[in-house]
């Protein structure tokens, strides 16, 4: 794989045309710490692979931008050539009255392509997240594989995580799955950790770290993975 492209997003409107040629591979990491909007326009040539990870830090401990730190991401993906692979990964930390939106429009217009969506977030205070994930598989897009998962940890009564999968599958020889969870951490895991002497607060942080690590481990560059982990870790509570 080519070198990872790391982008620190600016406040305001941002456009990301990601058009990959035949057999081209790109890995892009976008860090968002300011309010703004991002439009990802993704088109993949045959045999191309895109690995895109977007980290949305809409929380007070991160970045230098003022509140409210609302972040809106739109991912418009068109898979028009066979054997393309599109991996979309998202992490979001949202607190106070902030809001993060991830809207995915994944179009399998032809067959033999693979798409993966993995979005995980933690919400505090009176924050809100919206995940809208549309998967479209055209009538003759056979041998499509399209997967989607959105998991949320909601840390306060006032926070809201909305998740809305939307599947339109018109081909029959496909593998598709979607799953969404909204919840708090499993009490069995916490008790197990406490019983080993890990205090409740630390146990919760360890579990949140593990939860987000499930997405961060997709970043291929070890230094950047470490940097993002540290950044996120210092924002956890």
């Amino acid at each position: 794989m080519g070198k990872l492209e790391y982008i620190v997003q600016k406040a305001g409107d941002n456009a990301y045309p990601l058009h990959l040629g035949v057999d081209e591979r790109r890995e892009v990491l976008v860090l968002q710490e300011c309010p703004g909007k991002a439009d990802f326009d993704i088109r993949l040539g045959s045999g191309a692979q895109l690995d895109l990870t977007v980290i949305s830090m809409a929380c007070s401990k991160a970045g230098a931008c003022a509140e409210p730190r609302n972040i809106v991401n739109g991912f418009k993906v068109n898979l028009d050539s066979e054997n393309a692979v599109c991996n979309l990964n998202g992490v979001y930390l949202v607190d106070s009255g902030n809001r993060v939106t991830n809207k995915v429009d994944m179009n399998h217009n032809v067959g033999h392509c693979i798409s993966n969506q993995l979005f995980r977030g933690i919400l505090w205070d009176s924050s809100r997240s919206d995940f809208e994930g549309r998967i479209y598989v055209a009538p003759d897009a056979q041998k499509t594989e399209a997967y989607q998962a959105n998991n949320n940890i909601v840390e306060s009564e006032q926070a809201r995580a909305h998740t809305q999968p939307h599947l339109e599958i018109y081909a029959d020889d496909v593998k598709c799955s979607h799953g969404a969870t909204v919840g708090n951490k499993e009490s069995g895991e916490l008790f197990y950790m406490q019983s080993r002497g890990i205090s409740l607060a630390n146990a919760k942080v360890l579990l949140k770290q593990a939860f987000l690590l499930g997405v961060l481990e997709k970043i291929s560059d070890d230094d950047l993975k470490e940097e993002m982990s540290m950044k996120i870790l210092s924002s956890l509570r």
Binding site: E189, F191, S195, R196, G197, I198, L207, A210, G214
Partner: protein
């Protein structure tokens, strides 16, 4: 011989209602090994969970003193720091938290509670290696998620490894022998025996004599319907294995 644990008239119920423990009395001294046997659903795991501080149960009556302190007032992690260890009947899987990071967090919190500095990375790794050897656990387990994908027997070995790392004053082993093949049983049995000192104690919950061949108990208790209905010497285990519990229950 110092007293480690003293349970007096302990009653506990499920948070939503039903009483499970109906008046338990039990005293454990330094150097002793106690075994608890009893039919399914008698309340053995409930007793161990209550001692470890699981909040799905509510203590409604009675006292528990551990090393001279009121155990029931402590949080689960404080009980661990004080020297209680629970080997779970069903160890919990924690995806994404490696065995190493899990134990590092645990060991360092124990040290902090004792006013000791954190271990250096090298010291910690040396300690892990040494303790893994006690249960013949492969090094490759250290980087894996806690219990994730471990076989039933590997999970139980991991429990004893964790016990070795934390050197508890009282180890409560809830059916650590179930799911073990003959070799793993020997490894776990010998592991627990190695960890025994004249200053600590264990409470072994089991259905079978086979673990007790390694960890020979001084005293065996039969728990039935939330009460200890019989207390006797080590020979009772064999009798239970031969004849079941009916004869004890009928004689009540």
């Amino acid at each position: 011989m110092g007293k480690i644990l003293e349970i007096k008239n302990l009653h506990a119920k499920l948070k939503e209602g039903r009483e499970i423990l109906k008046g338990i009395d039990l005293t454990i001294n330094e150097g002793e090994v106690h075994a608890i046997m009893g039919p399914n659903g008698a309340g053995k795991s409930t007793l161990s969970a209550v001692l470890a501080g699981r909040d799905t149960f509510e203590v409604t009556e009675g006292e528990v003193t551990f090393m001279g302190e009121n155990l029931l007032e402590m949080l689960p992690e404080q009980r661990s720091w004080a020297g209680i260890f629970l080997g779970f009947q069903y160890p919990v899987e924690i995806p994404g938290v490696s065995n190493t990071n899990f134990m590092k967090a645990a060991v360092n919190e124990h040290r902090k509670a004792k006013g000791l500095p954190e271990l250096s990375a090298a010291e910690f790794i040396r300690m892990m290696k040494e303790k893994m050897a006690i249960v013949q656990m492969n090094q490759s387990f250290s980087s894996r998620g806690v219990n994730v994908g471990f076989s039933g027997g590997e999970k139980k070995r991991n429990e004893i490894f964790q016990m070795a790392m934390l050197s508890p004053k009282l180890a409560i082993l809830d059916e650590t022998d179930s799911g073990l093949d003959v070799d793993a049983l020997r490894i776990v049995g010998n592991g627990v025996t190695q960890l025994k000192t004249p200053q600590n104690a264990s409470l072994v919950i089991t259905h079978y004599q086979r673990l007790l061949d390694y960890i020979v108990p001084d005293i065996i208790h039969i728990l039935y319907d939330g009460r200890i209905v019989r207390t006797s010497g080590a020979e009772l285990a064999r009798e239970v294995e031969d004849k079941g519990y009916d004869w004890i229950i009928k004689s009540l």
